[in-house]
Amino acid sequence: MSQRPVSPFMALLTMNLKSLFSFHLPDKRKLASPKVILRTFGWIVLALFLLADFGFMFAMMDIGMYDALAPLGMQSLMLLYAIVTASVLVFFFAFITSLSLFSSAQYEALFLTMPLKSSSLLLGRMATVYAIEAPIAFLVMGIAAAVYGIKAHPGFDFYLYMLFNALAMPLVPLAISYAVLVPLMSASRWLRRKNTLLYIGGFIGLAVALGFNYYLQTMMGRIENPALLQKMLTPNQLNFAQVADWWPPAWLTMQAIARSGTPGAIVATLANLALGAALTAAVAFLFGRGYVRILATFGETHAVKGRLSRSQAGSLFRARPVLLSLVQRELRLMNREPSYFLNGPFVILLLPVIFALTFVAQGDEMRNAVTQLRPHLAGPAEYLIPAGLGIFFATATSIACTAFSRDAKSLPLLKSLPLQPRDIIAAKLVHALIFAALGIALGTVGGSIMLRVDTLDAIVAFLLSVSGALALTMAGLAIDTFWPRLSWENPIAALKRNPNTVIALLGSMGLIVGLGILAVTLPSAKYTFAILYGMVFVAACVALGLVLSRAGPKRLRQMEP
């Protein structure tokens, strides 16, 4: 039986989607291994947990909002909120995803050698972005439809309008994203670099995540107060609800919902779909050539030309102690790889920003919480909380627990050099401790100021956080020395998808919380726990130091990437 070949565009689309969603369930033979079963189960649980987490969050907000507005007869404003939220989220995701996908332009450039139209190439890429955006629109609008459906019992056509308008919602943002990005990237060689895109995408992503966090916390605060909520959602107020007036996909969706049961609803839904489809097609047609030019010139780099002068050579090639040279290498390799930097050292800078934003968003609540908490901090909590914050910040960078995994590709060369394995391990520890020191300064000092603890408690907290952070950093390094992840194709896999990162992060959080609970639960003199925990941390440092200096070098000699 002969199969009809698919069109070139469909083949491209299939390839793009397969590359993006490259999830493979293990085959029957591999599923015989308990390790594989456990890992597969873990991934499924994680995916369901994430979905349920976001779903639960939106459901709670929708339910809270409906219940707050129903007594005023304004419960349909909950749908307005959901539609505006979906519009804003989808817009940001469309822009970030479109931008990020340019970073794979060098691989996509292979398609330039194939007989594919430039508009098809762009449309194929836009379809990939759509496949990421659409589930977000479905999630936000689907949950709102379910909550509204259960509580208000609308007709069946309501669900159809929500569904089709959710389908249309991502199209206009998608078209606008490419209409902005293609000319922008065509104009700048600097933007056509993978590292630049990773940094920009990373920063925008973090800003959006922080903004979303701020927005959620603000909304949660307002749900408790129906008057505030009503004011915020009334269309004639100058606020986010006005998005529904001037953003055509949101406006058309609202028209479809408001006119349920009339031909006007069908017209509005069709108009929404037609608008999105027409704009997408127009952008693919108009910007296809520009997109192809970006693919063809992406990642072009130019060597820094210029002979070294005698004095430059003297300063650049100055001999340094081996350990210093190794530490500098660690710093450069980590900080110059965007996926390492953003998920590693940058976390130290990001965590205080998240705390600050939470403080700004829920300022009064937080200040009240600290004031209410203060009288209860008479015991060990007075120094344990700042110490715990310092330890958490210090170990949040994942530098130590991925030290050898990140180095997998250069290990053969590194091991062929006349280096003492102990020096290599020491350099990795020093690298992690440099950022741990920053974390201690921010966490312990910041925590002490925030909680207004006295000088003695601040000093005790500092000493505890130094010994605790050192012990946990060494533990993280020991984990990655004995169980490194040496086989990976992408740097992200060495850090973000490394089980050692999760083990170290959850381990340190668990330990901090566990020791805190123990101190609060067991009655004892205030500084007993400082002495006890300090001794435990110092003993752990000594034990781990022995393990790393004695068994570490032997393990390093056995490492085979």
Binding site: A303, K305, S325, L333, S410, P412, K415, L417
Partner: protein
């Protein structure tokens, strides 16, 4: 001088025996070619020889120093050009060279002299401030060549060094190999191209499926060809040693697929 004594290595994950009871002696003053098809065990042998991975059994001696017992002293005696030139791509060229020089504890004046000389020879003087990521594969290979010689090692080990080099740089490399052996040093390099080995080597070893299937000089290889009934000057004899290399590989169990 480099000696491999009865080296064996099986990869635990795949269970593949990559090197099987390999014994080699690479004398001083000789360019020694290490030939074999892809997957024959060349890179594994070089990784064992340089301490990057441990052998299951056997020993490696660099200038008489046991690599396992005195790794630092042994490693000071050789320079390595790895088969993957794209390492440390986040560094700038001078940063990488200075790192390697620091590791070998080369004094400032000596490293400047070697780097300037070799960079001029391989036409890299103008791009030493560039990020390695901005360099072509050939330029990265040349950078690795300079890095491997920054401490003026007695033994020079090169894993597939000709791949990616332009004709001018390939010629410069051959000249450098000759100079190195003329000064009494040892050159050991791997390749899967017989033609390359034929043009450069004084002696060679052929490996397939982890086992040594030939050692000797080119003359011995030519004699072997004749003993197989191919007369020099005949049509078959003119087709260089490539055909014999393939025949030896075939006789030893064919290619590993």
């Amino acid at each position: 001088m480099i000696e491999l004594r009865n080296i064996s290595k099986t990869y635990a994950k795949s269970g593949t025996k990559a090197v099987d009871s390999l014994t080699l002696q690479i004398p001083e003053g000789v360019i020694y070619g290490f030939l074999g098809p892809n997957g024959a065990g060349k890179t594994t042998t070089i990784r064992i020889m340089t301490g990057a991975i441990a052998a299951d059994s056997g020993s490696v001696l660099i200038d008489g120093i046991d690599l396992d017992k005195s790794p630092i002293e042994a490693k000071q005696r050789f320079g390595l050009v790895p088969d993957t030139p794209d390492l440390f791509s986040k560094l700038r060229a001078y940063e990488y060279l200075n790192f390697v020089a620091d590791v070998y504890r080369v004094p400032t004046a000596a490293r400047i002299s070697v780097i300037e000389n070799l960079a001029a020879r391989f036409e890299l003087s103008d791009v030493l401030k560039s990020p390695i990521s901005s360099m072509s594969r050939g330029m990265r290979m040349k950078l690795n060549l300079i890095a491997s010689l920054v401490h003026s090692p007695h033994n020079w080990i090169l894993d597939e060094p000709i791949v990616g080099l332009d004709p001018h740089s390939a010629f410069a490399l051959k000249e450098l190999m000759r100079e190195h052996t003329a000064a009494g040093g040892t050159v050991f390099f791997s390749t899967h191209v017989m033609e390359v080995a034929e043009r450069i080597c004084d002696e060679l070893a052929i490996i397939n499926r982890g086992k040594l299937i030939f050692t000797g000089n080119l003359e011995a290889l030519r004699e072997l060809r004749e003993s197989r009934g191919v007369k020099p000057g005949s049509e078959a004899g003119d087709e260089s040693l490539e055909a014999l290399f393939l025949a030896l590989v075939e006789d030893s169990g064919g290619l590993k697929l």
